[in-house]
Amino acid sequence: MRHQNTNLKIMSILATIFIAIVAASGADPSLKPVADPKPVLEDLHHKMSALDSVYFEFTQERQLKLFAEPLKSEGVMLIRRPDQIRWETTSPFQSILMGNRESVAQFEKEDGQWKKLKLGFPQMLRRVMEQMSLMHQGKMDALTADFNVSVATGAVAVVTLKPKDESVRSVLSSLEIHMLPDFSTTREVIMNEPNGDLTRILFREERRDVKFPPAAFDQNKPVDIEVVKKAVGRSK
């Protein structure tokens, strides 16, 4: 029995290394897979754990094989420890996704007013929001229940997450987090779909340890994003 368990563990480690090699070689030949990602991930977690809050602006590019040009949208992401996240699309439409460990909320702007949606599958959305928050806090170890995690380093550092669940894999084959080589900052996230389409989220204008207005994460009446931008020194 013990012998069998040891074999399973060895096979599991080998599989992880194999996946890491394939992922890294497929993505960028200059990237070198890290055989044992655990120390790297621990270091990443340590670096990020000092962060209390972070503000990003992003461009989301949806790259479909069918279209020559990517479909672009713009937005802002806020994260505050221990578990608050706000993902807001500002263009070409306005929408807010907000979550924490307990709940999730979504708002759509209609005729100049925010309208809170009565969400379907809120648990699923809450889980996705929680995973996004964990990724940006470097808590990759908390994601290993849902993903196979591998790391490759080179001109950039790439953490690749492959969903373990088959139904998740039917819409998301892998998720890549591209960071600076020292793992200090997230530069982009790529969500690969099984059919070759992908969504690339490019982050910019990062602000760390900022003080957000009190209602920035209010799931009933969120403060306007312009107020948030002013508070973090990003207003025009």
Binding site: Q60, R62, L64, L66, F67, A68, L71, P92, F93, S95, L97, Q106, E108, L117, K118, L119, G120, F121, L125, V128, S167, S170, V171, L172, M191, E193, N195, D197, T199
Partner: protein
């Protein structure tokens, strides 16, 4: 039969006759405040009945005004839609990308909030529906039966006369069925011919 305000209106056939006399389709009839201007053409009794009927049917509340639907979409265009899909009181925000061809081809890709494709369908000029991609949320039979029908209602060359669509504003539409509704806004339109590959059904998934 679909009415924008309440299905209870179906219980008032005399009201429908009244509308037909006014040459108005019932599903174009939003809130009485918009149509009260027609009052002079009706007898006092008819007006009273009309107001009472609408009040009973629940339309005297602040429902959005609907206006006669105009389908003046560019023949060659690429549109971005934002839609709120409501079923059984639960809501889902979706983004749609629609390519239109002057030959009558329509290609619609529906994505969820964070980007992944939920449905992809192609309607060829002869009206044939091809499911290019489905997902657990949008099963092939639902795409074929409901999404394709709604697409034809809004953007098709020959929409069904009884399409349950209301135009709430320029670029803002409400599709209301018995068990679901779609509040759809066109947020971006790029006019111009779209790549022919978009309208090629040979790459459809085998479903």
């Amino acid at each position: 039969m679909n009415f924008p305000c309440s299905s209870r209106r179906e219980e008032a056939p005399f009201y429908r006759k009244l509308l037909l006399r006014m040459e108005l389709e019932p599903h174009h009839f939003g809130c009485y405040t918009r149509y009260v201007g027609f009052a002079p053409v009706l007898s006092r009794t008819s007006t009273l009945l009309l107001i009472l009927t609408l009040f009973i049917s629940g339309c005297a509340t602040n429902k959005p005004k609907s206006i006669a639907i105009e389908r003046h979409f560019p023949p060659n265009a690429f549109m971005t839609h934002r839609a709120i899909f409501t079923a059984r009181g639960r809501q889902f925000a979706l983004t749609g990308y629609l390519a239109l061809s002057e030959t009558g081809g329509q290609r619609l890709i529906i994505s969820q909030s964070l980007g992944q494709t939920m449905a992809d369908l192609l309607v060829t000029p002869d009206g044939t529906v091809h499911i290019m991609q489905a997902s657990p949320m949008f099963k092939p039979e639902w795409i074929r039966k409901y999404v394709a029908a709604d697409l034809e209602c809004l953007f098709g060359a020959h929409p069904h006369k009884r399409c349950p669509v209301s135009m709430l504003d320029t670029n803002h539409f409400l599709i209301k069925h018995f068990w679901y509704k779609v509040d759809l806004r066109i947020v971006e339109t790029k006019v111009g011919p779209q790549p022919e590959t978009l309208f090629d059904p040979s790459k459809a998934q085998k479903l």
